[in-house]
Symmetry: C2
Subunit: 244 residues, 2 copies
């Protein structure tokens, strides 16, 4: 049978391993990382899935093949599937979600909220991660709103904000004020992101810890008791190693 659906541009599929960040932290997950992004954040930690120079590594995979890979990795047992990137909203994920749901799999999308798709309403979890000033990107709130509308409050919707410095923190507070009904997760930035061309997977663990302590102190002294502060657990455990 031929696959009539358009292909998904895949950078890597791996897992199951635990989700390292945000609302699903600790949950065994299979990750589909897609290639290509409409953003180019200054501190991007997934350049191998973003920079066009790695484009030839992004395999256009038919939905069938993507599904079979996820199914094999999970041994046919329903698992949470994380759709990340790059910006996975660029890809035609609708048919894959429909197929996985039929067998009890769940799907979480992580996106900056710049590209809207109808299939957002079919997700189980929608993690919206607008990019703060340190990214050097500009948020289109119109596009962001459209993402929320497309989801129709069907998936669990949460905010995730990366915070490197005071202006990022101020931005996070603005986003929280804009959407007081959405749970918010704050994450200290990784200022030593991996270099895709290098084998070096080391990180500045002390620096990451310091940023985490600063953010905890910032949030608690500010009495922002609704925000959750979580590090990237996979970075603490495994450094910048890929596919863990």
């Amino acid at each position: 049978m031929t696959d009539m659906h358009p292909a998904i541009r895949v950078s890597e599929i791996f897992g199951p391993t635990i989700q390292g960040e945000g609302v699903l932290i600790g949950l065994p997950t299979v990750f589909i990382r897609t290639g290509g992004c409409d953003y180019r954040c200054s501190w991007c930690d997934s350049l191998h899935a973003v920079d066009n120079q790695y484009r030839n590594e992004w395999l256009p995979m038919p939905i069938d093949a993507v599904w079979q890979t996820v199914h094999a990795l999970s041994g046919g047992r329903p698992v949470m599937v994380s759709l990340s990137g790059g910006n996975p909203a660029i890809q035609p994920f609708g048919p894959l979600i429909e197929r996985g749901h039929r067998q009890g799999y769940r799907f979480a999308l992580e996106t900056q909220g710049s590209v809207v798709r109808e299939w957002f309403a079919d997700l189980d979890v929608l993690i919206l991660s607008p990019k703060p000033p340190s990214s050097e990107m500009t948020t289109s709130w119109a596009a962001f709103e459209a993402c929320l509308e497309a989801a129709q409050e069907k998936p669990q919707i949460v905010l995730k904000l990366v915070v490197f410095d005071e202006s990022d923190y101020a931005y996070a507070k603005e986003v929280a004020a804009r959407y007081p009904h959405l749970p918010i997760y704050l994450q200290p930035g990784n200022h030593t992101p991996p270099h895709p061309g290098s084998e070096d997977t080391s990180v500045d663990l002390d620096g990451i810890m310091m940023r985490m302590e600063w953010l905890v102190e910032r949030v608690t002294s500010d009495r922002w008791f609704e925000a959750r502060v979580l590090p990237q657990l996979h970075v603490l455990l495994w450094g910048n190693k890929r596919a863990v």
Copy 2:
């Protein structure tokens, strides 16, 4: 006005800082650690709140005083209050919960499920943490069931299991099979718990990381995709330091 309620035996009250483990990980929290425990786990990481030798450090505090301390620490802003110990179920927390709720505070209790109280139904979160074989304690399932019944499904109820080794892991799977409707959090044990009499707050971080990796591998290779695996974040960040 005199406080007509019985006193709470307090080992320490501190915060706000983020919750380091389990379902509320990352959430700013004020911690009330009570003194005294009906258990004596071999690897207890809070001996200063358990061993009778520290009994003179457990202040019997009137509810008024406990509430005022929590209120002051949080600057009067509603926050999550964690009731831990020792076994906090021994203490008369009912009136404190009632008082805090009137001002929007929320309460999470963490207990092994060996002592049942009517006020469990007034909690916002009930974390039941039955102790695995490595603790050298024996679970009374009758008492545990009574705790669940007392809660009347009113609070959010979750399981938290500490796992040191294969027999702990097997125990965790049994508990999960017994209560398939309850979310379960697995936590690698801290095999270098603090010594209350010592200033040394160092931990064997490499050993903790190894146990975490083992547990992630164990759960994923077993395809136990419903279990969440989380380390004690505060130990990774701050070692065995108290009151952080």
